[in-house]
C-alpha cells in the first residue's frame, strides 16, 4: 500500500509542475504590465523601470519561473494588489470555509445518492426506477445558480433560513444554520450523478457469480444487495466522486458567490473581476492543488476498497 501511494505521488509530481507552469505562464501573457500597476498612474518611466528590476521582471523567463517555484515552495505567493496583504494569508482565511461547504454538501448528497441509486437498481424497470433516473438526469442538467435562486427566493426570502454569508464556524448554531442553504444548493447537483453511477455499477455486480452464490446460501435479498453487491459497486462510485470534485468545485464557486460565502472560489472571482493578479493566481493555484490532493486521496481510497489495484 505504501508503495502504491509513493507511486501515485511520483505520477502527480509532473502534473503539479505542469499546473504551476500554467499558473506562471498565465501571468506572463497578462496584457497589463504588473510593474506599471504597482508603480501607480503617477509614476515616471524610471520609477516603473526600477520597480520592474526590483520585481525581477527584466530577467529571462526560465529564471523568473525558477524564482516563482522557489517562492511557491516557501509559500510566498506575493501580495494582493488591493488589500496589500500576503496572498497566503488571504487563502488561509478562505480555505476552511470552502472545505466546510464541500464537506457539508458531500455529507448529505453522497449517502442520499447511493441510497437512491441502490433503490433504483433493486426496483429496476419499475416506476420508482424511472422516477429516480429522471430526477437524476434533471439534477445533472439544472444550472446550480437556478437552484440557488429558487432557495434564496422561497426559503431565504421568506425568512426561514439565512442566505447571506457565513455567520460563524460550522460547530456554532449560527454557523450551522447559515451553511444549510449553500450546502443544499451545491448538493442538489451532486445527488444525480452519484445515484446514477451507483445504479449502473450495482446492476453490474448484482449479476456477478459471488452474488448468485450468496443468494444460493440463502441470504436475504437486501442483505445480498448491501453486504455483497454494494460494497463492490462502491469502487466506481468512489472514482466518480473523485472525478466529480472538479464539477463540485465549479458548483462551489457559483454557490459561494451567490450566498456571499467567504471561500476561495468567491475570492478568485472577486480577484479576477478587480484585476488583482497575484491573488487570482494564488487562488487558482490553491484550487488546482486542492483538486489534485483530493484525486490522490481518492486513488488511495480506491486501493483500499480493492486491494488488487495496489498490487498490480
Amino acid at each position: 500500500m505504501a508503495r502504491h501511494i509513493a507511486q501515485r505521488l511520483m505520477i502527480s509530481l509532473p502534473v503539479l509542475l505542469g499546473v504551476l507552469m500554467i499558473g506562471f505562464l498565465l501571468l506572463q501573457v497578462v496584457p497589463t504590465d504588473p510593474a506599471t500597476v504597482v508603480a501607480g498612474p503617477s509614476a515616471t518611466k524610471a520609477e516603473v523601470e526600477a520597480i520592474r528590476q526590483q520585481m525581477g521582471l527584466d530577467r529571462p523567463l526560465w529564471v523568473q519561473f525558477a524564482g516563482y517555484l522557489g517562492r511557491v515552495l516557501q509559500l510566498n505567493l506575493g501580495r494582493s494588489m488591493i488589500s496589500n496583504r500576503p496572498v497566503v494569508d488571504e487563502i488561509a482565511l478562505t480555505f476552511w470555509p470552502t472545505v466546510e461547504l464541500m464537506l457539508a454538501c458531500l455529507i448529505w448528497a453522497v449517502p442520499l445518492g447511493i441510497s437512491l441509486g441502490t433503490l433504483a437498481a433493486r426496483r429496476r424497470g419499475t416506476t420508482i426506477d424511472r422516477a429516480i433516473m429522471a430526477l437524476s438526469v434533471m439534477g445533472v442538467s439544472v444550472p446550480v445558480f437556478w437552484v440557488g435562486l429558487i432557495l434564496i427566493q422561497y426559503v431565504g426570502g421568506a425568512g426561514l433560513l439565512p442566505f447571506q454569508g457565513r455567520n460563524g464556524p460550522i460547530w456554532t448554531a449560527d454557523g450551522l444554520i447559515s451553511i444549510i442553504l449553500p450546502a443544499v444548493t451545491l448538493g442538489a447537483v451532486f445527488v444525480g450523478p452519484v445515484a446514477r453511477m451507483t445504479r449502473t455499477s450495482l446492476l453490474e455486480t448484482l449479476g456477478a457469480d459471488y452474488v448468485r452464490t450468496a443468494r444460493a446460501k440463502g441470504a436475504s435479498d437486501w442483505r445480498v444487495t448491501i453486504r455483497h453487491a454494494l460494497r463492490n459497486a462502491m469502487i466506481p462510485v468512489v472514482t466518480l466522486v473523485g472525478l466529480q470534485i472538479g464539477f463540485l468545485l465549479g458548483g462551489s464557486i457559483v454557490t459561494e458567490t451567490m450566498f456571499a460565502w467567504p471561500g476561495v472560489g468567491r475570492m478568485a472571482v472577486g480577484a479576477i473581476t478587480s484585476n488583482d493578479f497575484p491573488l487570482a493566481q494564488g487562488a487558482i493555484l490553491i484550487l488546482a492543488v486542492g483538486f489534485m490532493v483530493v484525486n490522490l486521496i481518492v486513488d488511495v481510497l480506491y486501493a483500499y476498497l480493492d486491494p488488487r489495484i495496489a498490487r498490480s
Binding site: 502534473v15 445533472v140 439544472v142 445558480f145 488546482a288 483538486f291
Partner: protein
C-alpha cells in the same frame, strides 16, 4: 426487418453490412424511445429558433422602454410582450431567442474548436507511438485542471468577455475528446487495412486522414454532442459569475444574473433564462444518454 442472407460475401462485406444495420438501429432506437425522441425534436426547434432569431424575434432585444420596466408575463402594460419585460423594459421573448443564439453558439463553437484539437491530439497519439506518452501526460495535466478553473484563468488573463469564455470552454473540451479519439484510433490502428495502406506507400498524412480520421469521426462526433450540454452549463455558470458575456449582451447566463436583483418583485426576469438553460441542457443529456445506450452493446440487453 427480414433477415436476408447473402452468400459468397467476404468478411469485410459482412462487417460493412453489420455497421450499416447498427447505424440504422441507433436511429430507430432513439425514435422509439419517447423521451429521447422528444429531446431530439425539442433541440431541432431550439436550434432553428436560435439560428432564425434575428428574423423571428418580435422585437429588438436591445431596445428598452422604461415604462414597461419589469412588466410581468401577461401584464396589462405590455400585451405584446409574451414573456413580459426585463429590468430595462426589453422584450423577454426576443432576448431569450437572442440569448439562445449566443449560448448555443458559444457551446457549439467551443466544442467544435476544442473537440477538433482534442481529436487531432488523440489521433496523433495513437498514430505516432513515440508521441503517445508525452501527449497523454499533457492531457493528464489538462484533466487535473478542473474546467471551471480554465474559465477563471482565461478570464484573469484575457479579461472577461464572450471570446475568453469560448477559449476557456474550448480548452476544457480538449482532454476528454482527445482520450476518446485516441481510444477509437487505437482500435483502428490494429486493423489490417492500416498495414495495407502503409504497404502501398501512403504517407502519414494520408493514412491519418483517410483511414484513421474518417473511421473515427462518428464516435468523436457523438461524443462531442454529449459534451455540448456540459459546455453550455459551464459557459452559463461563468457568464452568471460575470466572467463571460457582459451586459447588455443577451446571453442566458448573464440574463439570469441580471434578473437576480429583482427576484422578489419580478421573478420571471431570471427564471425564464434559467429554465431555458435547464431545458436545453436536459434535452442534450437525455439525447446523449439514449445515444450512449444505443451505441454501447454492453448495456443493450
Amino acid at each position: 426487418m427480414t433477415d436476408v442472407t447473402f452468400p459468397l460475401q467476404s468478411d469485410a462485406d459482412q462487417r460493412a453490412i453489420a455497421t450499416l444495420r447498427r447505424k440504422n438501429a441507433v436511429w430507430r432506437r432513439i425514435l422509439k424511445d419517447p423521451p429521447a425522441a422528444a429531446a431530439a425534436l425539442f433541440l431541432v426547434i431550439v436550434v432553428l429558433a436560435a439560428v432564425l432569431a434575428p428574423w423571428i424575434a418580435p422585437f429588438d432585444p436591445y431596445s428598452n422602454n422604461m415604462r414597461l420596466r419589469l412588466c410581468p408575463i401577461g401584464g396589462a402594460r405590455c400585451p405584446d410582450y409574451l414573456l413580459g419585460a426585463d429590468n430595462q423594459g426589453r422584450d423577454m421573448l426576443s432576448r431569450i431567442l437572442f440569448g439562445l443564439r449566443a449560448t448555443l453558439g458559444m457551446g457549439v463553437t467551443a466544442v467544435a474548436v476544442g473537440g477538433g484539437l482534442g481529436a487531432l491530439i488523440g489521433l496523433s497519439a495513437a498514430y505516432f507511438k513515440r508521441l503517445d506518452q508525452p501527449l497523454m501526460r499533457l492531457i493528464d495535466v489538462l484533466l487535473s485542471f478542473p474546467s471551471i478553473l480554465f474559465g477563471l484563468a482565461i478570464a484573469a488573463v484575457l479579461g472577461t468577455g464572450l471570446t475568453s469564455l469560448v477559449i476557456a470552454l474550448s480548452i476544457a473540451a480538449v482532454p476528454s475528446i482527445a482520450r476518446i479519439a485516441r481510444g477509437a484510433a487505437q482500435s483502428i490502428m490494429q486493423q489490417e487495412y492500416m498495414e495495407a495502406g502503409r504497404a502501398v506507400g501512403l504517407g502519414d498524412g494520408a493514412l491519418i486522414w483517410r483511414y484513421l480520421a474518417l473511421n473515427c469521426w462518428p464516435t468523436i462526433l457523438i461524443y462531442m454532442t454529449l459534451q455540448l450540454g456540459q459546455a453550455i452549463l459551464l459557459g452559463a455558470a461563468l457568464s452568471f459569475l460575470g466572467l463571460g458575456a457582459q451586459p447588455p449582451t443577451a446571453e442566458l447566463g448573464s440574463m439570469a444574473a441580471d434578473g437576480r436583483k429583482f427576484l422578489s418583485i419580478a421573478p420571471h426576469v431570471s427564471t425564464i433564462p434559467c429554465a431555458a438553460i435547464f431545458l436545453v441542457v436536459l434535452a442534450f443529456n437525455v439525447l446523449g444518454d439514449a445515444l450512449r445506450d444505443a451505441l454501447d452493446p454492453k448495456l443493450r440487453q
